[in-house]
Subunit: 127 residues, 2 copies
């Protein structure tokens, strides 16, 4: 059993093209022998965003702190603590931090060996 | 894309033998066409617990609110907001709410069709 606090895990900048003010922590991933899916923690600085992008696997998202938007193509969905989002495979999406503080959320993805057709660009050893 | 707030989803009591003061919300599951894994929200009342049990799939857990313990057999791991736990397949475990308020956490599980050898007793249509 692995039990840690998320702040014990170092945050790395997301260097993917189009990412602004994003940091990622890999909370649970293949290095922990997680069999099926990975849990990542994202923090987006005020005014920042993830790239607008598409991939062949889903995201399961839970917002922990801050306010923002998740874009479904050009459609805006507001986010606040406790918001839940399922982004299906193939759906163009982007997260934006629109509040005065950072937007923090969990974003879980399946492992490629479990059937995802590709991997997400926001890599950190969790994929 | 599904975007909701977790409080929009009704909580159901966990009626499994050994559960005390537990409620579950199915935030994302097969009914949402989630391809790989389900996101559930648990709330355990002060002094309550989940059953001590074992199954063939993992749990990925993130603590949102309150304090408690996750038992690894007879070993106690303290939990607080931001705690992360990976419970591997086959590991006996139990969650206990030890603080003055409820213990709230996310607990994610793989879908059986994705290879888990059985399903968890804490059912709600998310499995």
């Amino acid at each position: 059993m692995k039990v840690v606090h998320c702040e014990q895990i170092e945050a790395a900048p997301v260097n993917m093209e189009g990412a602004v003010g994003c940091r990622i922590r890999c909370l649970i991933g293949p290095d922990d022998r997680a069999p099926s899916f990975s849990m990542r923690h994202f923090e987006i600085a005020p005014g920042g965003c993830t790239p607008k992008h598409t991939h062949g696997h889903e995201h399961e998202v839970f917002v922990l702190e801050g306010t923002g938007l998740v874009m479904e193509g050009d459609r805006e969905h507001p986010l606040r603590p406790g918001s839940v989002a399922l982004i299906p495979p193939g759906q163009e999406h982007q997260f934006r931090a629109t509040g005065p503080g950072p937007l923090k959320f969990l974003c879980l993805i399946p492992h490629p060996m479990r059937g995802a057709s590709d991997t997400c660009g926001l890599t950190c050893g969790c994929e």
